[in-house]
Symmetry: C2
Subunit: 234 residues, 2 copies
């Protein structure tokens, strides 16, 4: 049962997903791990630009990757890019394999960490916010999603995501910590790192712990969902 | 020009290769990065066991991965596992794509770091040592390869590699530092981390710096070779 990973969005997030999938899988030796294929196509047009109307549609490139993974033997798909889930329905309609939704994985991780439905904070791309990906999928279950004000998006979150995509995750930590603190001050009882670049800029350790409320790392959440698919008994 | 990465040996080393490939590529945004496919098949039989005569031949699984990468569109191959290079000639004979050899990449990295031909130390699996992979490929160019004594292999290096494969890289650091110190004490002017699990156990930072001589990280060396293939002008 090979897992297909549609990555490259960005490429560091895709690689980190593979590392976390490996580290979170109970295993004593190579042969205990989950077989997977990572399709890392960084040429997929920028998802936020497409949503905001300033760039080309990424769907053809996304479907090309899904077809490649299916042809190579994958039996389920994960996509370690939150914003790409704005095209989830079109991808799932075109792909016969199950695609594990990253927002569902985040919701499962909120429950795993003991967070009760209520007010949560979301750090994500402008595209994910504009598409209301989290709001639409979570509100029926009783979640209220707080997002940073526009000035924090343009001054902190967006430049932090760009720094990770440029290979400088350490340059984004202070900005992400500031944005997370703003969400907590506004009443968030948990913060979802709802862009897979963000966990790289706010890695496990002092800066993430300083957020002071449970943090959902959507790379880890998606890795746990994939392990649940591949190893239902674990 | 898609790069094919034959990984899974171990899976954490393959994921780390993808992360380092990304971080070492000059890029400002996703679309500047190198497209690649990672075939992570952790079921490839253990390479050291095969070489020592205690396990099955990994070649059929290696060739299956190469065929899968070629079918999916790869145009060159890298294999982030030193020991698997014991089957390099058979793989290259069966695969029409160029395979970038990890020992050649290590030699280029020694030169990049200013190490002159002479006595170098090698930390690697029992299989890589038994096959004399480094000795045979480097001795004509004037390199003398020092390896740890048997007691250090069984007491430090082998258990350290096993800890990384079990998802506990931090448990291997002290053992690897001790083994590296022994090579330097024996006259090594550089230490090659000639197993792709080892850089994960001796990551960049204090423990690696304490080795006191140039260290060749074969994950990084292979990533630089791949970037040279994909971006010859860089």
């Amino acid at each position: 049962m090979i897992l297909g990973v549609l990555g490259g969005m960005g490429p560091l997030a895709g690689a980190q997903f593979c590392a976390r999938l490996t580290l979170l899988t109970p295993a004593a030796r190579d042969q205990d791990h989950i077989p997977f294929l990572l399709w890392s196509d960084p040429s997929v047009p920028d998802r936020t630009a497409a949503r905001l109307g300033t760039g080309p549609d990424p769907l053809p490139a996304l479907l090309r990757g899904l077809r490649g993974l299916e042809a190579a033997g994958a039996r389920a798909i994960v996509i370690p890019c939150n914003t790409a889930h704005g095209w989830f329905d079109a991808m799932q309609a075109a792909c016969p394999l199950p695609i594990l939704h990253i927002v569902d994985a985040a919701a499962v991780d909120l429950a795993r960490q003991g967070v009760r439905p209520g007010r949560i904070g979301l750090l994500a791309t402008e595209g994910t916010l504009a598409m209301r990906l989290y709001q639409e999928r979570l509100q029926a279950a009783g979640w209220e999603v707080l997002v940073p004000p526009p000035g924090v998006m343009t001054g902190c979150v967006t430049p932090a995501i760009e720094a990770v995509k440029a290979g400088r995750p350490e340059a984004s930590t202070a900005r992400l910590a500031e944005a997370a603190a703003g969400l907590v001050a506004a009443g968030a009882t948990a913060v979802v790192l709802g862009c897979t670049e963000i966990p790289l800029g706010l890695p496990e350790g002092a800066a993430r712990a300083a957020v002071g409320v449970p943090v959902v790392d959507t790379i880890d959440a998606l890795a746990r969902a994939a392990i649940g698919w591949a190893r239902p008994a674990v």
